[in-house]
Symmetry: C2
Subunit: 404 residues, 2 copies
């Protein structure tokens, strides 16, 4: 069909920013869109109708809740419920997962999680892409791109997984290349993007979670082992010149601490992860559940009652605080979002953590940094989708061209 597109004579340059505003929930109505874009109502109107004809957003003329008390109520804008989706995939220590994610970070469909990781990346990515392709067939959705989150630093521009430490994969595996080959073989003709899972969680938190509105957002998270960090500057993920920024695991937080595989002692990596908590509390790792789950359960259940758990938790909080203070001194973010065990530590005793960070950073001005727990359930998946959506957010019109 020869797609009868409205001949757009305005708003071409504002199309991307406008879509991003609706995508992140910052433009609930056309009036807000007008002010946020800093354009006239005429242009904002053209932009909204264009995005609607592209099938990306919906414009609902019904009144709804008025913006102010007076005047004509503005049309309501929302992400299209049945619009295109991104194929999102995630590989972690215990298995992998696939999902379809629409605009607004909405998870539209999820494939059943798998709980084993093959030592051959191509095998794993083949399976997870096949699962995603299955979801696309079932739902009949159009796919605009694919994203993959891996628990490893991803080197740019090669797209290789440099240190998949907690995965049985070889260091330097060309994950993006493999991912794209799997996509082609599965009959999903889109470009695949790859990123570190903590980085992508951070991106997701910034757009749809606890990081919304932060100008300089720092995320730090523990998975099952090790610590990862991420930085979102002015809405863009900062991955450094070769994709390897924010490898924060080897900040020294205890000069007399445990030896680390990096050769030093007392690195954040080995002092604030789940195993460190279990050891400090005098517990042995149990056979059931991941280390993260065990450590989290321990804090949740016994922090108020068990002295050893309380002392261990506080010790980790103090060390995490030292590490965060070091990062605050270097990066000066206006918000910190914590994930994994670090989130649990924050929830256990937020005042203590905030006090340590404030005391040791920026001459006492570190207290101006907000420290929050992450809020998204599947941040890595949503973040992987963000990666896939980015080209559309940058130039929504490209969709119409490729629709041909």
């Amino acid at each position: 069909m020869t797609h009868t597109r409205s001949r757009l004579d305005r708003g071409r340059n504002a199309l991307g920013p406008a879509l991003e505003l609706v995508h992140t929930g910052r433009a609930p109505t056309r009036a807000v869109l007008t002010t946020e874009l800093g354009v006239t109502r005429a242009t904002a109107g053209a932009v909204a109708t264009e995005l609607a004809t592209l099938g990306l957003i919906t414009v609902d003329p019904r009144p709804g809740t008025a913006t102010g008390s007076q005047g004509r109520p503005s049309h309501r804008l929302a992400v299209a419920e049945d619009g295109p989706v991104a194929l999102a995939a995630q590989v972690h220590t215990d298995g992998y997962r696939a999902a379809l994610v629409g605009l607004g970070g909405r998870i539209v469909a999820t494939a059943p999680a798998c709980e084993a990781v093959d030592p051959d990346p191509a095998q794993v990515l083949g399976e997870v892409v096949a699962a995603g392709a299955g979801l696309l067939r079932e739902t009949g959705r159009r796919c605009i791109g694919a994203g993959l989150a891996v628990p490893s630093a991803v080197a740019e521009p090669e797209g290789t997984a440099l240190n998949p430490l907690h995965l049985p994969w070889p260091a330097g595996a060309p994950v993006r290349e493999i991912f794209n080959r799997c996509l082609t073989e599965a009959g999903v003709p889109v470009e695949g993007h790859c990123g570190n899972d903590v980085n992508l969680s951070a991106l997701a938190e910034h757009r749809h979670g606890a990081g919304q509105g932060a100008a300089h957002l720092l995320c730090v998270a523990t998975g099952h082992r090790g610590v990862g960090g991420a930085l979102v500057l002015d809405g863009r993920l900062h991955t450094g010149s070769s994709g390897l920024a924010l490898e924060v695991g080897h900040l020294t937080v205890d000069p007399q601490g445990r030896p680390c595989h990096c050769g030093s002692r007392g690195c954040l990596d080995v002092e604030t992860d789940p195993l460190a908590l279990l050891e400090a509390a005098g517990r042995r790792p149990g056979p059931e559940g991941s280390l993260l789950d065990q450590a989290g359960a321990l804090i949740g259940a016994e922090y108020p009652t068990d002295d050893a758990v309380r002392d261990a938790t506080r010790q980790l909080i103090d060390r995490l605080g030292l590490g965060l203070a070091g990062l605050v001194n270097i990066l000066n973010p206006d918000r910190i979002v914590l994930g994994g065990l670090h989130r649990a530590l924050l929830l256990a005793d937020a005042p203590r953590l905030r006090a340590v960070v404030a005391e040791r950073s920026l001459w006492g001005r570190g207290g101006s940094v907000a420290i929050l727990p992450c809020t998204l359930d599947h941040g890595s998946l949503v973040g992987a989708a963000e990666l896939a959506w980015q080209p559309v957010l940058d130039d929504p019109l490209a969709l119409a061209v490729t629709a041909g």
Copy 2:
């Protein structure tokens, strides 16, 4: 006079980027300007003539050295020799200095340096501004703005000097406010900007020195005491959310090291500054010359011959390397420029420093980071001028308006 401006009907948006290209020496001819801007020859021509009528650049139709071997030689572009200037000022431990700086980072005039710092900031800034105003009168140049470099973190948006540790000033002194008041009183009706001296040096090195072309530039420098850092991302100084980023002095580089006033031990600040070198080499600070000069002279004169000096230098190099590796892991820059004593350490044994950084960063990929000595003589002054020039670089036409 009613400035007969050419009625500009093109190139308005490209004016700023074009000026920046000429300013940083990346557009020596009009042909290069055309390709760098990504516009047509017609637009580039209009832009060049407009910048010339504004008195900011000169367009020299003489052949000069041809770009390629064939074809008509392109007109040569250069910063106007007699164009407007910025008033640049610097306060450091031993005194202060004032200069006029034109586009291209050219120091046009310098006032004699003064070698004492009064405990009252208003007194010092009044004197230095008066010196700058004197230069303006002598040269008859038009002044487009003023910039001040101070050896302290400068909080944004307040413009206060948070930790003038090596200055007899109170912490939190409102230097920008004072600076602007002094400018008004001295009859220099321009806006004054303030920044940390290392930050401004970094900006200057990025635009006119060893940092040219770097996408992510990290600068680390020692002054007379203490260590400062700065980061230039995509051509813009990254000062964090409140201006306090890159306070890198308290990275731990020796867990058993000297106690630091921050409460920790073995911080970069106290392990790699001039006093640390003198102590490690078993020398006492002499009465003559600054600590930096003494330490630098010691390395320069006795590194090859004196065992104690060599060992001390190597010790500092190793610790500096550790600190830089930590920063590389967090920031992943593509270039590092070192100043002050760190520059001397690099020049003494570059292979050793590079090896330490490479070994301890990014799983051995840290070797891809170029480490260079800074090249500008008065980086802080030039950087202060950059701050003042920035509004003009962002919108050159504003000059014509205020020229009335």
